[in-house]
């Protein structure tokens, strides 16, 4: 957490339309400096579009924003100098070597003492010996690490990471998140979008958006508590048969299988408890558990689903 309470990103009523489709709808958010802020939401919810508006790659149709003290509409030039943006798809040059890519990016930002910085970045990656290797020949995990190194080379104050760990193995993901935490500790603000719940749990605060709207934000605990969801775990043999029975009950809003157990959730705690207990039998045990973030998100999605809304295709 930032000691002085400075705000790194503050956007108000951001709206972006592509043709008829509103991809980001009246979106407001505040990210304190030095925080790791998780950006969650289903595919096509407007996460990438929002990030692109923050770093000046897209022009908002409405709304305003201040990023690192600069207006996103007027001063995107100044913002770009202080922001490191890691795109969802690998966007460095596959036909340049690792070193050439880093050098190119360093030159773009006019980095002082460029050679040393590139060497340090290579060292940090542990890729000194492979510096001449073409980037296109790297595996997904290495590409991701190279991309992160490239967007850190100009010492940005804000990192925008768009699904940085998609398709990366768990060990590399863990290393990645350790690195992110070190950066945040050093004072860098990080806005990171992800689909992984375990990654959301590693953020200082999260925002959940769906269909361009902000549904919930705060710390993990706050978001879970705000949902006022109660969840029961149903354990035993043949739980799938029980699942069908539970789904038919009005108090049960959601039944999700987790291996051999079911997570059964609803907002009316009393009626849900009664409903769950009614299926208890010899082979079936039930107990109340804390709802997970995933329970909460799926609950929020269902809530939206019942309201009319357009189906938004994913946009690159």
């Amino acid at each position: 957490m930032s000691a002085n309470g400075a705000i790194a990103i503050e956007v108000q009523n951001l709206t972006k339309r592509f043709g008829e489709r509103t991809v980001v709808d009246n979106f407001s958010m505040k990210v304190p400096a030095g925080q790791i802020y998780g950006f969650l939401g289903p595919n096509g919810s407007g996460k990438t579009t929002t990030i692109r508006m923050i770093c000046g790659l897209l022009t908002p149709d409405a709304g305003s924003g201040i990023v690192l003290g600069h207006d996103i509409a007027r001063d995107s030039e100044l913002i770009k100098r202080q922001v490191g943006y890691m795109t969802q798809k690998f966007s460095l040059y596959e036909d340049l070597s690792i070193e050439e890519n880093l050098d190119f990016v360093a030159r773009m930002y006019g980095v002082h003492d460029r050679r040393r910085r590139v060497d340090e970045a290579l060292e940090g990656l542990g890729l000194q010996s492979r510096r001449k290797q073409l980037s296109g020949t790297l595996s997904g995990g290495w590409k991701q690490r190279l991309a992160l190194a490239a967007c850190l080379i100009h010492d940005p104050k804000l990192l925008l990471l768009d699904e940085p760990t998609a398709g990366v193995d768990p060990s590399a993901r863990r290393d990645f998140w350790d690195h992110i935490h070190q950066l945040a500790h050093a004072g860098i603000t990080v806005l990171v979008s992800t689909h992984y719940m375990d990654e959301a749990e590693r953020c200082h605060a999260i925002a959940y958006i769906a269909y361009g709207k902000l549904l919930a934000h705060g710390t993990l605990r706050e978001v879970i508590d705000q949902a006022a969801l109660s969840t029961w775990e149903v354990d035993g043999e043949r739980v799938m048969e029980v699942a069908a029975a539970l789904r038919a009950m009005p108090a049960v809003e959601m039944v999700a299988p987790f291996g051999n157990t079911l997570h059964v959730s609803g907002t009316d705690a009393g009626k849900l408890a009664a409903a769950v207990k009614s299926v208890r039998s010899g082979g079936i045990t039930v107990r109340q558990v804390d709802p997970t973030l995933e329970d909460v998100f799926i609950h929020m999605m269902r809530g939206l689903d019942s309201a009319a809304r357009p189906v938004a295709p994913e946009r690159d």
Binding site: C55, L57, K89, S91, L92, Y93, V105
Partner: protein
């Protein structure tokens, strides 16, 4: 085993994809039609009304008849009557006229006496094809052009050998060697093809490979990107020119009468104009395929309407106006002017400024079209 089902699946998929790519589809159907009409009406292998200057030292009745019958052939239009031969030659060097007719002061006297009367026609033979029909028509004039005026005692001269001689000087290319015209022209054609093509994929490649997003996220400015992508190809362009000049000299024996320094200096304008056009295409095309199609769409009129393949002056006015927009048209005049005519800057200046204008206009469009966002 050959499966009709699988064939049908592939066929169907191809048609669906073809239909989805609207621009490609339009280009496949619309552009051939457009080109058919455009080139069908524009191209003319038998250019008429070619501009000629006459220098008249003998303003007699025979001369007037001669000029009239010259115009009556349809091949010549007298556009100037300079006072001196030097002035007429300058017009020829600048390409303002294709022919200069000189009527010596003793023309009428000798004609009447039957004493070897002759007129001199100088033809700009840099493009032999453009002048050959007109020159052929001259013989007819010598034989019958003055019949109307051969009256009284001269009436008998209508029969028999021609009453006067037309002496033709094929200037700049006396032997009518096609290579003299084609090889310098090819320099322009090769540059048009490669320069436009290379830059037309410049931005589309960034977009297709996804590297555009990273590029746009940096503080880089459009002019920096444009110049950075254009300058390497200027170097490539000069290498091509160097090779072509060597080949022109040692393989084809094409003369180099003018200054290589002047040619090199003007080349930068031509190459930069072509690269700017390619860059503009790359800001318009959505993928590399479209960029290539745009390049082809630009290339065809460049070779057909510029005067490279067919005589420029043979085309109708609207096609000539269209040709003026193409850099190759002006470059051909410059390169022929310098290499074959030994022209100085003053001789080619009228073709240099249009190139500069094209460069500035196209660059402005390119920079305006260059999107700094992904919107």
């Amino acid at each position: 085993m050959f499966s009709a089902h699988r064939l049908a699946a592939v066929l169907l998929k191809e048609f669906v994809q073809m239909r989805r790519d609207r621009l490609t589809f339009a280009m496949m159907l619309g552009i051939p039609l457009l080109q058919l009409v455009l080139f069908g009406y524009a191209i003319n292998m038998d250019p008429k009304n070619l501009p000629a200057a006459v220098v008249i030292a003998d303003p007699g009745v025979f001369t007037r008849s001669l000029v009239r019958s010259l115009e009556n052939t349809g091949y010549f239009t007298v556009v100037a009557q300079p006072a001196t031969v030097e002035e007429a030659d300058r017009m020829l060097a600048r390409g303002e006229v294709q022919f200069v007719l000189q009527v010596p002061e003793d023309f009428s006297r000798r004609l009447q006496r039957g004493d070897g009367a002759m007129v001199l026609v100088e033809a700009d033979a840099t493009d032999p094809a453009a002048t050959s029909n007109a020159l052929a028509a001259l013989n007819q004039i010598a034989a019958t052009g003055l019949d109307h005026d051969l009256t009284g005692p001269l009436a008998g001269r209508k029969a028999g050998p021609a009453p006067f001689e037309v002496r033709v000087h094929r200037r700049y290319n006396p032997e009518g060697v096609t290579q003299y015209n084609i090889v310098p022209g090819l320099m322009g054609v090769v540059l048009t093809m490669t320069m436009v093509m290379m830059t037309s994929i410049a931005m589309t490649r960034e977009r297709e490979r996804g590297t555009m997003e990273n590029l746009l996220a940096t503080p880089v400015r459009p002019l920096e990107v444009m110049l950075g992508k254009i300058v390497p190809y200027i170097v490539v362009g000069y290498v091509q020119v160097f090779v072509i000049l060597l080949a022109a000299r040692f393989l084809f024996d094409v003369p180099m009468l003018g200054s290589i320094a002047l040619l090199s200096a003007v080349l930068i304008l031509y190459i930069a104009a072509l690269l700017a056009i390619g860059f503009t295409f790359s800001t318009l095309a959505r993928n590399q395929m479209q960029a290539m199609q745009m390049t082809m769409f630009f290339f065809l009129p460049s070779i057909l309407l510029s005067g490279f393949m067919f005589p420029f002056r043979g085309m109708p006015q609207w096609a000539q106006d269209l040709g003026q927009v193409l850099p190759l048209t002006h470059f051909l005049r410059i390169v022929r002017g310098i290499m074959l005519k030994g022209g100085s800057y003053a001789d080619i200046a009228d073709s240099v400024w249009p190139l500069a204008l094209i460069l500035v206009a196209v660059s402005a469009v390119a920079l305006k079209r260059y999107q700094r966002t992904l919107d």
